[in-house]
Symmetry: C2
Subunit: 345 residues, 2 copies
């Protein structure tokens, strides 16, 4: 079954003009008479002619589309980023091809290879939790394929990067928990090697030491899939809650870790914040409707998508290779609600 669309040749035959004249007329070239242009345009309109983007891409060696690799669409943080990406891509006339790694290195590899093999002009990437080898990205970048990192960036690769101030987000959250009177603050962390994990971990530790609290490594629980799988959060929580000196609050370092923390507490009938305080990263719209409402670190996700896309398109459209790469850091926002408010006993 095939769909036969009109092509230049069809118009050319119908009007008795050459294909190049049609092409030029449709591109409003100055070397075509107004009369011809009008005739061509009217006819093209009447048969609903659309240039074949595949042919144009082949010719122009560009697709006017950009690729995106995110971890998971079903995650508010990423879907808000996508909205930011689309908002500028739309204006600039680029199409967006979204792919998900689902936190799998293999899928990421697959996606990036597809995208880079001339399917898109450039790529926006946040690496999967499983990714610790970056050869597949380095190779592209060395070949001149434009890549911009967002959120989970790779320091070794020199290109535009945009992330949020993860250190500050973590520092402020932890400090707030300390101020609220929590004594043993645990951290539910994402995969250990990720840039965001390291930065958030550093912020968490600094806040503790600045407040004169000791850092207890048994209170730091890594979740290899970033909390995407409930069972890993459950296991981490079980381990933490079985310590001789159990934590009295948690700092959850990602969207999914935060919601799965709440799910765990609900399942185990652990009262937030009385038994366990919580501040977590989350971009979910509903966190203020939970009971208790969640104190969260909210990331400017839409903004991040917007800026990343602007940088990527700038790179794609640059005449000469970019040497001066930008490193943008956006500020997170700490929204203090009930889950971090320790009640006096």
């Amino acid at each position: 079954m095939k769909y036969e669309a009109a092509k230049l040749k069809d118009i050319s035959k119908a009007l008795g003009l050459s294909v190049s004249t049609i092409s030029r007329a449709l591109h409003d070239s100055h070397e075509i008479s107004e009369a011809t242009k009008k005739m061509v345009r009217d006819y093209a309109e009447s048969i609903n002619y659309r240039p074949n983007p595949i042919a144009v891409s082949l010719r122009e060696k560009r697709t006017r589309s950009i690729g995106v690799i995110i971890a998971e669409i079903a995650n508010s943080f990423f879907s808000q980023i996508i909205n930011g990406i689309e908002s500028v891509a739309f204006i600039k006339g680029y199409n967006v091809i979204i792919t998900q790694s689902l936190e799998s290195y293999e899928r990421e590899l697959n996606n990036i290879n597809f995208l880079a093999s001339h399917s898109v002009d450039g790529c926006l990437i946040t690496v999967s939790t499983e990714t610790s080898n970056y050869d597949h990205i380095t190779k592209l970048y060395k070949n001149g394929f434009p890549v911009v990192f967002f959120d989970r960036v790779v320091e070794e690769i020199k290109t535009h990067k945009i992330s949020i101030d993860n250190f500050k987000g973590a520092y402020d959250a932890t400090t707030e928990l300390i101020k609220c009177g929590f004594k043993r603050i645990a951290m539910l962390a994402n995969a250990e090697h990720l840039s965001i994990t390291q930065e958030r971990l550093a912020g968490y530790k600094k806040a503790l030491t600045d407040a004169g609290c000791a850092v207890d490594n048994s209170l730091i629980k890594y979740c290899r899939h970033g909390g995407m799988i409930y069972e890993e959060v459950e296991q981490s929580m079980n381990e933490a809650m079985q310590l001789s000196n159990t934590p009295d609050a948690f700092f959850a370092a990602s969207d999914k870790l935060t919601t799965n923390f709440v799910r765990y507490c609900t399942a185990k009938k652990i009262k937030i914040p009385d038994e366990l305080g919580l501040i977590g990263f989350s971009n979910l719209d509903l966190t203020d409707l939970l009971v208790p409402s969640l104190s969260v670190i909210r990331q400017p996700a839409f903004e991040m998508g917007r800026i990343a896309t602007e940088l990527l398109i700038k790179t794609i459209e640059a005449r000469r290779p970019i040497v001066d790469f930008e490193r943008k850091i956006l500020q997170p926002e700490l929204l203090i609600r009930e889950s971090s408010k320790k009640r006096k006993k």
Copy 2:
């Protein structure tokens, strides 16, 4: 800045063979000797050769990709559908291009025109709430462009359609509210002309009349953007709550209507279910964590995406035009939790 990938010609030059021999060798043609094949394959591998998908598409008049038009990525129901779509597309070797209408007819038109102009081999569509004229889709379909509708289907167009049993979902939800003792059950509905709205409305009405309750049209509130905008829900709710005989429960007919209903009640300090009972359509993972936990109608979204994609790929790969179109109806699931449990006073 451009990215130069290896092409057949490069291999041809390097090995002193013709381009056609290289092409055949890489396709494992029987007319090429094993020795040549091995040499070509090894060399291609060594330089990491990938065929240019644009050139292949132009040649083969197919792109091995499918397009998707959904309302909004940042909506659990749709993001779950996307996961279903990707799961089968991935296996069948198709790429997925996702576009959002954001409930705008203009954007939908834009997206579908882009996708249909040879960018993809076929399309999965759920129409926007604003769409009431279907000429743009009819035109494509008449030209033989494969289209499969899911969720919000268009009856006038003869093609594969997959949706859930909206009548039953609404009927069961309303009946449950009646059984729980609610007397004046209002409906928060999506845009009036949508297929899903009509079906859910019919189920709601039938449940009322079957139970001997009168249908009161002042209790049916349409939201043109399907609840995507909080203000429209707020206005509808305000109107409903100012009636002389206010409702004591709501049936919310979409994901966003359900969550924005909760948002409204929280803002106005209306207690669910004591002051207002609720059952709503929702595929959000978190509805069981809200207090009270929400009684919801859950749709098999992943499944819907999966089946829609299978039907689309079947259509794309069919040798002859399809005349027998399928109409699949999936069953929703009613999860009864606390928001619909009227307490004795």
